[in-house]
Symmetry: C2
Subunit: 203 residues, 2 copies
DNA sequence: ATATTAATACCGACCAGTCGGTCATTATAA
DNA sequence: TTATAATGACCGACTGGTCGGTATTAATAT
């Protein structure tokens, strides 16, 4: 029988979610295995039935986190046709999805960034490709822009630089928002960002 | 005689620099006291003659790091008179000073951010005020903008939101640059950011 | 000058606590 | 009964911080 496979995967996911939860609160290197176990309401040893090590949890979590993000964004974009609209949903989804669904998890982003940046001189180099991920994001944006330029809706700007700026703004805004959630409303700020960015490049 | 005080301070600074160096390479919680000692070419015990704990080093380093940054920026701004120019130097100094002088230390920024964000539920709450620091940065930018608006050189925009965007862009660009330094030239990208931002608000 | 004393800087072996990971045992399911 | 899953006591490697002792420099006395 194979309900087991389902169960195993489900439980693995459960542990992962618990781990991400704890990671976000305490930081990854301040998180102890026992913390994860308790958060998942299981024994410490059980974790090792599903993950080979703490690093394994970290890397799996890392990928799950960004894969979900990726999918959410590219799905949202696919639903749109007009480059302007695509840019809009990209901004809105980036800022609001995290805001709404996973606000607890943003704390981890920082660790992921920190680890990802440092993984150059690190054993995790092969498992983490933050650089490549950002290249993908930039490419995604770039393609939207280039299509817009080709269609004549955008001015012929440097699409690569624009992509960097947009990505930078999104990351930076998330950062500020985590520090001070009451500072601005995510929906509003996303709207402003859309306006500003689109105004700057519209033909 | 009192050369001692000078020496002590100098040595404390030396240790601090060594610590920051190691922090940036390995991350703060992966840094061992012995690493710092070796980097400073002293015995481990000696560190405790100058700092009370690892956390003490971290907090002192944190403040030194940002105090230097603050001073550099506000000095550069004071030298300018025109709001447009002030904004320009703010952007250039923010992006390039770190780029030129302390590129090794950017890795720490991530830890500082991570710790700062998490210090809410943390014993370091009293020692780290990342939120307040960002409020100050925003205020600094805001005052430039408001003066520009009053003088009629800028359109009457929402100066607070603009400050958030600018800060976000700067942080985000640094982030991307750390991941992939060859992606863009800091001087150029700073210039582009200036153009874009100023074009967006010039009257 | 030189000896003596005092004060300070420096050191690394050591200690006590911690934590990732293991494994013998127990509970559960088939 | 047997196979599988779950568990937490246990282990050993590791590390922040301590402490007794040594080296170095300064102050004082002779």
């Amino acid at each position: 029988m194979c309900p087991k496979i389902v169960d195993r995967e489900a439980k693995k996911l459960e542990i992962l979610q618990a781990a991400l939860q704890v990671f976000s609160q305490k930081g990854i290197s301040n998180t102890k295995m026992i913390d994860i176990a308790r958060a998942a309401s299981i024994g410490k040893g059980t974790i090792y039935e599903y993950f080979s090590s703490k690093e394994d949890i970290f890397i799996t979590g890392f990928h799950q986190f960004f894969a979900g993000y990726d999918e959410m964004i590219s799905n949202a974009i696919k639903k749109q046709d007009h480059p302007s609209e695509q840019l809009k949903v990209l901004i809105h989804v980036s800022l609001e999805a995290i805001f709404e669904e996973q606000k607890d998890f943003i704390g981890i982003l920082m660790d992921f960034w920190a680890e990802g940046i440092r993984s150059k001189d690190n054993s995790m180099e092969d498992a983490i490709h933050l650089k490549e991920m950002y290249q993908n994001y930039r490419m995604m944006i770039r393609q939207i822009i280039d299509r817009g330029i080709a269609q004549g809706v955008f001015r012929p700007i440097d699409s690569m630089a624009f992509a960097s700026f947009l990505l930078a703004a999104i990351d930076g805004l998330m950062l500020q928002w985590v520090m001070e959630p009451e500072l601005f409303d995510m929906k509003q700020i996303a709207e402003s960002l859309c306006d500003g960015m689109l105004n700057g490049i519209r033909n």
